[in-house]
């Protein structure tokens, strides 16, 4: 057998048929230059593995583990919610003729929160503007934009970690959206608005907006809406935790 360069590579890479190994080794014994090349190639392969194997042990960034929903379904959901929003807005405007549209803020709050949830929660790369690693910065920034002091609940006790947050525009001005996620990648969003003028507090209310379940309430000057694609009972459990965290004295 004449040993060619491909045989030498196959030898280094362990892809040479067992029957040819002895012959290549015989060749190397009498061709020191080839033997040196083979030694160097082996060393390089080892150095490459040593350089890059540690990547395998790094924790996988969250953005890579979330299975993206098909783009059309998320846009369809957002579009569907907007159609409902327009239709009910139209009816509401007729019914409440002469009254400001904010006359029934909680309903609008739930719908806007559900739309924002449907738009942003399926995002893989840009679900938030500021990631949880910079939570302090996130809360300060959103507080400043909303002109108040916001608190971001920590939902670890119910299995949700903060992903981050973003600034949105609502009918009354800036809105904060915090996003949370459980170990399976299910996401919740907490939509926080500031209520203008004289607002009364309300109890929890529930609204099913298409596939998105929403618990919403008004607490003094804030409007809150917690949205998720999950059952009412499960969402209520989280809503209770959010409420308690935001009102620790009660």
């Amino acid at each position: 057998m004449t040993v060619n360069e491909s045989d030498l590579h196959a030898y280094v890479d362990g892809m040479l048929p067992a029957s040819s190994v002895a012959e290549v080794e015989l060749h190397l014994a009498s061709h020191p230059e080839d033997a040196e090349r083979v030694r160097a190639w082996r060393e390089l392969s080892g150095a490459l593995r040593k350089a890059f194997d540690p990547v395998m042990d790094e924790p996988v960034p969250h953005r890579l583990v979330v299975r993206p929903r098909r783009a059309w379904s998320r846009y369809a959901m957002a579009a569907g919610l907007m159609v409902i929003g327009i239709a009910t807005g139209w009816v509401a405007r007729g019914a409440l003729f002469g009254l400001p549209l904010s006359g029934n803020p909680p309903v609008a709050l739930a719908r806007q929160a559900a739309i924002a949830h449907a738009v942003y929660s399926p995002e893989v790369r840009h679900p938030v503007e500021v990631w949880a690693q910079q939570e302090d910065h996130l809360v300060k920034w959103l507080s400043k934009r909303l002109g108040t002091t916001l608190k971001c609940p920590s939902l670890g006790s119910v299995g949700y970690e903060l992903v981050g947050g973003r600034l949105l525009s609502g009918s009354n001005g800036p809105v904060a959206q915090f996003m949370f996620q459980d170990a399976k990648g299910a996401r919740l969003t907490l939509y926080v608005t500031t209520q203008k003028g004289d607002s009364r507090s309300t109890a929890f209310r529930f609204s099913q907006e298409g596939g998105v379940a929403v618990f919403y309430w008004i607490d003094d000057k804030y409007g809150y809406a917690l949205s998720g694609e999950m059952g009412r009972t499960e969402l209520l459990q989280v809503a209770n935790v959010v409420y308690k965290q935001l009102n620790p004295e009660q």
């Binding site: 150095a47 990547v55 890579l64 993206p68 098909r70 790369r125």
Partner: protein, 165 residues
């Protein structure tokens, strides 16, 4: 979802992308784009066939399609490689830096082949399928890539020795 075979391959895809591109964030962008495409095309994957080969083929296509737009900053990484420190340096660190630096000097086609074989430990046949090139092309890229890497790596390490002394 964590148990889905796609998810189990993510660490491998990340290792390969990091070696291919260098920059951690650009590499994870490549992995993310690959995964998005894989999830969307999952119905095209034949159960029982080699999922690793399928994923690496997707990654190759995504990479090639985006390389022209410089989306993954393949080249710019060459300019941003850290300057070798001249003091208080561990030998191992230099060794790693040298092999990474040498890798950047390879044309991307040779880098892909070399990494799939040396790091991913694919067979020549698997590489041929993942990159969609004939096996003869795989062998010539491997051969040229290895020789070039050997020269660059030895050249770099000589310089390094001078600096350290």
């Amino acid at each position: 979802m964590e148990n889905h075979p796609i998810v189990q391959h993510i660490p491998r895809l990340r290792r390969y992308a990091r070696a291919l591109i260098g920059d951690r964030y650009s590499a994870d962008d490549l992995v993310q784009d690959t995964l998005e495409r894989a999830w969307n095309k999952l119905h095209l994957w034949r159960p029982g066939s080699d999922m690793r080969a399928w994923l690496f083929a997707i990654m190759h296509n995504v990479f090639v399609n985006h390389a022209r737009s410089r989306r993954y900053d393949v080249e710019s990484h060459m300019e941003t490689l850290p300057i070798l420190p001249t003091r208080a340096t561990q030998g191992d660190y230099l060794e790693l830096l040298d092999v990474e630096r040498a890798l950047r000097a390879l044309p991307v086609e040779q880098r892909e082949v070399l990494l799939l074989i040396a790091v991913e430990e694919m067979t020549y046949d698997e590489v041929s399928k993942a990159l969609d090139v004939p096996i003869g092309t795989v062998m010539s890229r491997l051969s040229r890539g290895r020789e070039r890497l050997r020269q660059v790596a030895s050249g770099t390490s000589n310089q390094t020795l001078k600096v350290v002394k």
